[in-house]
């Protein structure tokens, strides 16, 4: 269970995250939407430790993560993927996975043995299978297609076996068809792994179709949370975010 309590963060005078409180039940799938500058990425950066919150708590199974450094938060079980695929360009897919498992097993500092360690193989293999990257194991990350780099980024988070997985726009920079393939993958991972998944998404069709629960952020505040149907009908959302009537009509 991930509980966010009164989380706030300001940059100068701008309240990027303003008193946000949210619960994410174990095994839930939640989409976070909101216009540009709504504070979606800031929200993720606060939870994962990339930014230090001004106030508030981030409770993972009752333990407060607020203000801790990223490595520590990761080890507690909050993994993330990035909007722009964040990978290790010169490592191969397989090396990336094996090295990540090493880090998770607290063996990133081991010097008296050779890489890779035998005990990292199964998990690395499993993650590559899950993301469909096994056939590209010997490719260096830099040579992968954009979509595969995004998958590798997700694989990097997933191979650590997180309790909560935060995906910052998994479909960013993809064509329509590729988007759907990616989002099917996300849904499949969520169903198979039974982990808590929170993702940011711009495409309304995708959000309304696959997310059982939607959180709408606007100017750093929660505008609404609820099922796709409830969000579609929510007047504040229609007015503030979905904007003009014809857009709302298109969504509905």
């Amino acid at each position: 269970m991930l509980e966010i309590r009164a989380l706030s963060k300001s940059f100068g005078g701008v309240r990027a995250t303003d008193n946000v409180s949210l619960d994410f039940a174990d095994g839930s799938l939640t989409a976070v939407i909101g216009p540009n500058g709504a504070g979606k990425s800031t929200f993720f950066n606060l939870i994962t430790g990339a930014l230090r919150p001004d106030a508030g708590q981030i409770l993972l199974n009752g333990v407060d993560m607020a203000g801790r450094a990223p490595p520590e938060i990761v080890r507690h079980g909050i993994g993330r993927a990035f909007q722009v695929a964040s990978i290790f360009p010169s490592l191969t897919v397989e090396e990336t996975m094996l090295a990540a498992v090493c880090a998770d097993q607290r063996r990133a500092g081991v010097m008296h043995r050779r890489f890779p360690l035998a005990e990292t193989r199964d998990r690395a293999e499993h993650a590559m299978e899950l993301l469909g990257l096994a056939s590209k194991r010997n490719r260096t990350a830099a040579t992968l297609s954009h979509g595969d780099q995004k998958l590798l980024d997700i694989a990097l988070a997933l191979v650590l076996e997180p309790k909560v997985l935060l995906l910052d726009e998994p479909t960013a920079g993809m064509g329509t068809e590729e988007r759907w393939r990616m989002i099917d993958k996300v849904r499949e991972l969520w169903e198979k792994q039974k982990i808590t998944v929170v993702f940011i998404e711009h495409d309304m069709d995708i959000v309304f179709k696959i997310a059982p629960r939607i959180v709408v952020l606007c100017y750093g505040r929660i505008l609404a949370t609820g099922t796709p149907d409830a969000i579609r009908r929510n007047e504040a959302v229609i007015e503030a975010y979905l904007g003009s009537d014809d857009h709302a009509g298109a969504v509905a």
Partner: protein, 339 residues
């Protein structure tokens, strides 16, 4: 530039099949063969000059390869790595002159001192990014160099440590005997290279590669980037100090130039010559630079110009070091043969 090179090099190479144990046996074998060949050298060629050359290669080779652990593997471009070379030479020389402890004790004690100094300097430096890291390491180098110059009563100032370094025999090894010194230098070189190779190919070595490629991502898979950087900074310093100790034994003294920034510059130069994407690149670079130095200074007094042209050729012409070039060329040929 080095990160770019590292990335490009890795892309074009056919990725090796990952299998850990045979690799280590192979490295042990290579180390043993290399040592055997080096040890046989004096019995084949009697030339003292050649042996001197190899001893210098051992000193600079350890130094340059340890610098590559920072530059090539971790992406930490240190312009002050030479300070540990100087520290090794002075620490060892002073200890032998002032205390008269056995050589192995002085060796270990010098490493211990280097370790402490490197922890302090590293703790300050590795937090800094790229250019700031480069310049603050350079600043520490200048600080150590100035200290050596001005602390005349201890270091002899700009005259250096004079009067020779005493070398009492230990365990049947007499380092005042040229052959013994040669074999010991070779042993230190081979052991040092083997240990560095082991570090580079260990899980920790891959942690360093991740930090070089994308430190932010590394921290988001749970790696303490600062600690890893500090660890390799200190380890590299120890190997550089070992190089410095070989140098001190070779010239039987220590001079302020050993701690001057030009030593760090030569280290970077060697890495550019030899290449940073292969483990032995810096070793090849060392041999190249020393041959160049020796031949060019004999032929002309304008050796700076010649060395400058050579580095321009590698930097602008090949855009990589010699070993990078050779390895890529082989990979390409293999690719053509199979494809």
């Amino acid at each position: 530039m080095t990160e770019l090179q590292a990335g490009q090099g890795a892309q074009t190479l056919a990725p090796p099949r990952i299998d850990a144990r045979p690799q280590r046996y192979r490295d042990v074998l290579i180390a043993l063969v290399a040592f055997a060949l080096l040890a046989l050298l004096p019995f084949i060629f009697g030339s003292k000059q050649l042996l001197d050359f190899v001893i210098r290669c051992a000193a600079y080779g350890l130094f340059a390869t340890s610098l590559n652990l920072l530059v090539g593997y971790t992406g930490l471009i240190s312009f002050g790595h030479g300070m540990f070379f100087g520290l090794g030479a002075y620490g060892f020389g002073l200890m032998m002159q002032k205390t008269g402890v056995p050589i192995p004790v002085a060796f270990v004690a010098t490493l211990a001192i280097t370790c402490v100094v490197a922890v302090v300097i590293g703790a300050i430096c590795v937090r800094l990014k790229e250019i700031y890291f480069a310049f603050v390491t350079l600043a520490f180098q200048m600080l150590i160099h100035s200290t050596i110059l001005s602390w005349q009563s201890l270091t002899g100032g700009d005259q250096g440590l004079r009067g020779g370094i005493p070398r009492p025999p230990f365990l049947g090894i007499d380092l005042s005997n040229h052959l013994h010194l040669y074999i010991t230098s070779c042993a230190l070189l081979v052991i040092g290279l083997f240990l560095m190779r082991q570090i580079a190919q260990s899980p920790f070595g891959y942690t360093l590669r991740m930090i070089r490629d994308n430190a932010t991502r590394a921290s988001f898979i749970g790696i303490d980037v600062w600690r890893a950087k500090l660890t390799i900074f200190v380890l590299a310093a120890l190997f550089a100090a070992t190089g410095g100790m070989i140098m001190a034994l070779f010239v039987s003294g220590a001079y302020p130039e050993f701690a001057y920034w030009t030593i760090s510059g030569e280290g970077i130069f060697i890495n550019m010559l030899g290449g940073v994407t292969t483990f032995l690149g810096p070793m090849v670079g060392t041999v190249l630079l020393l041959i160049l130095n020796d031949t060019v200074t004999r032929l002309t007094e304008y050796h700076g110009i010649v060395l400058g042209v050579v580095i321009l050729f590698f930097a602008i012409g090949l855009r990589k070091g010699l070993m990078d070039f050779v390895v890529e060329w082989f990979a390409q040929r293999r690719g053509e043969a199979s494809g």
